[in-house]
Amino acid sequence: MSMQHPVRVSSLLAAALVLAPASAQDAITPKAGEPFPEIAFPTLTGGKPVTLARFEGKKVLLIQFASW
């Protein structure tokens, strides 16, 4: 598997990453110590929506990024 980090991830990491106070977060927002929410997302390749349960049994690094 070949990986290169997205072009602007480093600059975005340096930008103001505002962590929401717990009281303001959605109930569905992932929280440490809790199972990742069960949400079926469409895939970029257009396949059937999947949840992260698809990867159960393996550790996952889920990176939320943007191509801009």
Binding site: H5, V7, A20, F41, E56, V60, A66, S67
Partner: protein, 385 residues
């Protein structure tokens, strides 16, 4: 960080699965990006921000039983020395489940009409529901990009996103969606200026490149103010092309006109980007007469408002004597601090050379228009320097 983790062998296929998650309005652009950068990990799409996050990027370390293990953005040494080496116990906790939302269901089914109806209802039920406003904007823009487009979809999308940002200004997902189409003064970076390079590089590599189904708006590639690239309109001393109004008016609707301003409403002291769209009438078989000259726009801007140039010229396709594409002119207006709240009107006119049918009639026409919007007090998101 991910590059380092791969380079030193921390991450490999056996240890961990890398999964991407994007919130972009147009996921196909990320597909192009992945191809260009030779990234081949699975990517999930969350255009409506169903995960409820505030910022991007984020990284979650999830153990083999599906439990999130990091409290903040994880450091590389934590991933390598703690996360990957720990055998986490199973958890009996149930994962949070998304509440059923008819708007989300409709959006995922690409049923834009019903998605819009559902999110409109949500904003009526709770006018302070920023998430509903954001999703309404996404749905309107999606319909604008489809064959079911309605004339005011893009403007309504801007208004909905403006409202979302007003209600929840610290949400960077909401902000970026609006900035993508907004004035250069409010942009953190050019967003999609890499697309042309990506397509060129892929072609050089012999990789097939499909055209984007949703073309880029000028705002999506324009550089923020302060960097010299990508001027919208060069300042000039251009003379008004038809001061006496001698050119025939387009009384028969040969070319349709629509304007969109972003944000809407803009704040006093900030700036606003205006899109002027000109669409040849298909029923009348109208085409642009490229041999005769380009589409030009003249603006009569109030003295208090600044614009880089009053005369703007739309791009024409190369090597084509006639064409029928929609032509868009984008411009930015700077709103002074002294402006009073209320309605602002910028009048102007477009001049164009068009032909009807099989070139049995080609004419030079003028269409007058007014760009109108309210300006409000408040902290401008796009402040002049």
């Amino acid at each position: 960080m991910l590059e380092d983790l791969e380079a030193d062998g921390t991450i490999d296929d056996n240890q961990v699965q890398l999964v991407g998650l994007i919130q972009e309005q147009h996921p196909e652009r990320c597909k192009l990006f992945m191809k260009w950068k030779k990234m081949d990990f699975p990517v999930l799409v969350d255009s409506l921000n169903r995960l409820g996050v505030w910022a991007v990027p984020m990284l979650w370390a999830i153990d083999a039983h599906g439990v999130v293990r990091n409290t903040t953005r994880p450091r590389k040494d934590w991933i390598r020395d703690k996360f990957l080496k720990t055998d986490y116990p199973e958890s009996s906790a149930e994962p949070a489940r998304e509440q059923r939302d008819t708007g989300v269901d409709a959006f995922l089914a690409r049923d834009w009409d019903n998605a819009i109806t559902a999110f409109e209802q949500q904003t009526k039920t709770d006018a302070k529901d920023a998430k509903a406003w954001f999703r309404l904007g996404c749905s309107l823009r999606a319909r604008h990009d489809s064959t079911d487009r309605k004339p005011d979809d893009f403007q309504r999308a801007i208004e909905a996103w403006t409202q979302a940002v007003r209600l929840f200004p610290r949400n960077y997902i909401f902000q970026r969606r609006l900035q993508q189409y907004g004035p250069r003064l409010g942009k953190p970076y050019p967003f999609y200026d890499w697309v042309a390079q990506a397509q060129a590089d892929l072609r050089k590599r012999g990789v097939p490149v499909e055209a984007l189904t949703v073309p880029l708006e000028g705002s999506e590639v324009a550089a923020p103010v302060g960097r010299p690239r990508g001027a919208i309109a060069e300042p000039n001393d251009a003379k008004e092309p038809d001061p006496e109004g001698t050119i025939d008016r387009d009384k028969d609707g040969w070319v349709g006109f629509a304007s969109v301003v972003a944000p809407k409403p803009p704040a006093i002291g900030g700036s606003v980007r205006a899109y002027l769209r000109f669409t040849p009438n298909r029923r009348k078989e109208i085409t642009w007469d490229n041999e005769a000259g380009p589409l030009r726009v003249w603006l009569n801007v109030p003295d208090s408002i600044h614009v880089a140039s009053s005369l703007l010229v739309a791009k024409m396709p190369e090597k084509s004597s006639s064409s029928s594409e929609v032509r868009t002119i984008e411009l930015e207006l700077e709103l002074p601090d002294e402006l009073a709240p209320g309605k602002v009107e910028v009048s102007g006119y477009a001049l164009y050379f068009v032909c009807s049918g099989k070139r049995d009639q080609c004419v030079h026409l003028r269409q007058d228009f007014t760009i109108a919007f309210d300006v409000v007090k408040g902290r401008p998101r796009h402040r002049r320097r």
